[in-house]
Subunit: 430 residues, 2 copies
């Protein structure tokens, strides 16, 4: 073994650890951003709900409250923008980051339109439906940032937290849309077939989101979610869903049920926000723990380098190595040139196995995100191809899944693959 | 639209492009490293072949040639180490990079042992088999760097190039191992059953590697490969394979056939090197093209920012946007607040779609790498569990695949999944 070369090996071992740490610090910053987005989205959902109420059931007395909500939202928006200023500065490049930044630009673009939208709401120059649509789009663009953060996170535990949070946020957003739709329906005294279909679509997608959330949630978050399911607000909100389903042109109900619907669903959504805050805390804690772990590792790696820089290998140094490789399960090399070389090798193999393990663990969480993306895309393609509504597209996919005995995700995947085969460009060759 | 907010949107669009570019520059550096590794591996294969010859058939007249080969290898090693010095400096962190660095450290560790190994070869203090095994290990660690480079590349075209190159290098390495094994067999006059099994294993794995290479290779590289298959050296090398298969203790052949075997397989491998060089060139060209494309994009994005920094939107600026969004196929938003805002949105959606498309295109190439990894891992687990040889483990997998009518990769995947289920830790929860 050449003394010249030994440091290069160790330098790269250290560089690997530093690289991991700096990626994690980056990810921690993204996670802080995600928690700010989560809070802003909640405020926007509230503002959307009251804007809708304000426009739908002509409730001028709500104006003051709506204004205070807008102010609260604007404050959270400002905090998010400040956070983004930080993010803008340090840009270690990656294609993942390029996707994240593009999503952020997209969300900022819609945020820029918010003041104009608020004016039009106050001046009744926009319908409840259009105002809701604009805010759905804005919130969707913010959720896309969270999705991208989850999709590009490379630490399995943090990815699990992000996938749980994203799916919860998505479910809560659909609950918010359901609330808005219900207000519209009750305001006109009954639910038209198309409105009912959309309502059902929103409820099903909510369930899918929350069930994915449950798969990735911590036991603590899961019990919070079960408690919500057993709450009075949830139970009563479900009862109003049944009433909505039974209405038709010949069986109208009192328009004021809309306010009750709004109140109960608001209570339900507020309970969700409690869980969301819990998920945010878990996410930040998880980041802290991972960083602490890697910092400790880096520290002991540094000690290693220092103790090895004096070329001679003492028994203590060999022991120092072997502490780290205690849970190593890979076969030993046949011909170690020295005890120390063996230890370096063990350490390296341990590191390689650990990184590989992390890479593998990510797969499951990534798959959950992938499947969501594919269902979403299949829906969009159907909408374009058939010129149908979102809920019709969804109904088509669901029907195909039932007919073929497949999961919705599998049907979406097959549909996209078949479509891609039809429109495929000549295979990518250089 | 607020003038305050507009720049933030555009800043993030620019940051996304810069991020892509810097990731690509990083990747280009890794690709240069890969080409150096490819050259070093070729030199090491040659040195292994002649070391083996030198030790197997007691050919002291080969000593001088072997020394010149070692010197050539040492030069290439030095170049690689210099290249690595550059790489060490700029470390934008990511978990992918951490894996790459760990693999590099691993390869450096084995490279450090090379001078000692050379001495032992010269002094006949090591068997041909052990010397070969040590060099197989070293070359394997270098190939693992190329694998990791391919696995973490985020540009689909470059990834295709890397996957083609990696699989070609892997196939060529197996051809080199086959050459060494053949020399051993012919030296003793015949091939024992176990040796024949290993030979067959090496030939099958070669075929798998080259067939994956073909899937990802450019048409030019594919025709070079077909030309090699039609060459005299290849045909004659295959004939000697048949002769080897027919030998046994009762049907020995002239030991000097080993030299002919060595020469023909060397010719075959040298032809492979020609293709390898071609693949290296394609890889570097592909990097250049991608970088040029992104630089141009970045440049036009910058022009955009400059022309927009004066707040007023002129028609020219709107036209400047729309040039880029010409091939945009996503639905337009319902309520554009201005023509310019629409263009920004189109540009953003175009960018998001493009990045998403790249992400999707990567999937196929990644899957090819994943499958290789899984076959490799299934083999290693079988070796550990049954205490059998590599070729026996491979034979088991192949037999299982035939019995169940599945692809080898699928059998490997099921085997690993079943094993993982047996040894699973409590599910990762926080």
């Amino acid at each position: 073994m050449q003394p010249r070369a030994l440091p290069a090996t160790l330098r790269f071992m250290l560089a690997a650890r530093r690289s991991e740490l700096s990626a994690l610090e980056d990810l921690a910053q993204t996670c802080t951003l995600v928690t700010r987005i989560s809070q802003l989205v909640h405020a926007l959902q509230k503002e959307r709900g009251y804007s809708n109420l304000y426009l739908s059931i002509d409730a001028p007395h709500q104006r003051q409250y709506l204004d205070s909500l807008s102010e609260a939202t604007a404050l959270l928006e400002l905090e998010l923008r400040n956070e983004l200023e930080h993010l803008d500065q340090n840009s270690a490049g990656s294609a993942d980051k390029a996707r994240l930044f593009t999503r952020i630009a997209h969300a900022l673009h819609y945020l820029d339109e918010l003041p104009g939208l608020r004016r039009r709401v106050r001046e009744h120059r926009i319908s409840a439906q259009d105002a809701t649509a604009a805010l759905v789009r804005l919130i969707g663009s913010l959720l896309a940032v969270v999705f991208e953060a989850a999709d590009s996170a490379l630490d399995p535990q943090i990815t699990h937290c992000l996938v749980a949070l994203f799916n919860f946020m998505q479910g809560k957003e659909l609950a918010g849309q359901e609330r808005a739709l219900g207000v519209t329906g009750f305001a006109s005294g009954y639910f038209e077939t198309e409105l009912l279909e959309r309502l059902e679509h929103l409820q099903e997608c909510q369930e899918r989101s929350f069930s994915t959330f449950s798969r990735f949630a911590s036991p603590a978050a899961q019990s919070l979610w079960q408690a919500l399911g057993a709450s009075d607000s949830h139970r009563q909100a479900c009862q109003l869903r049944d009433i909505a389903r039974r209405t038709h042109a010949g069986a109208k109900v009192d328009g004021h049920l809309g306010e009750l619907w709004f109140e109960l669903h608001t209570q339900r959504i507020d309970l969700m926000q409690g869980i969301e805050s819990h998920l945010e805390q878990e996410l930040l804690q998880c980041c802290q723990q991972s960083m602490q772990r890697i910092r400790n590792d880096l520290h002991s790696h540094r000690r290693l380098l220092e103790s090895l820089s004096g070329i001679q290998a003492s028994t203590e140094q060999a022991r120092l190595f072997s502490v780290h490789s205690s849970d190593l399960d890979s076969p030993r090399p046949d011909t170690p040139s020295s005890a120390m070389a063996l230890s370096t090798l063990e350490l390296l193999q341990h590191q390689a196995l650990r990184l590989q393990g992390m890479h593998d663990e990510l797969r499951e969480a990534r798959q959950a995100l992938d499947e969501r993306k594919q269902v979403e895309r299949a829906k969009q393609q159907l909408i374009r191809q058939l010129g149908c509504s979102e809920s019709e597209a969804y109904a088509q996919l669901r029907q195909a899944a039932m007919n073929q005995g497949l999961r919705l995700e599998e049907v979406a995947q097959r549909f996209l693959a078949a479509n891609a085969a039809l429109t495929r460009r000549p295979h990518l060759k250089h």
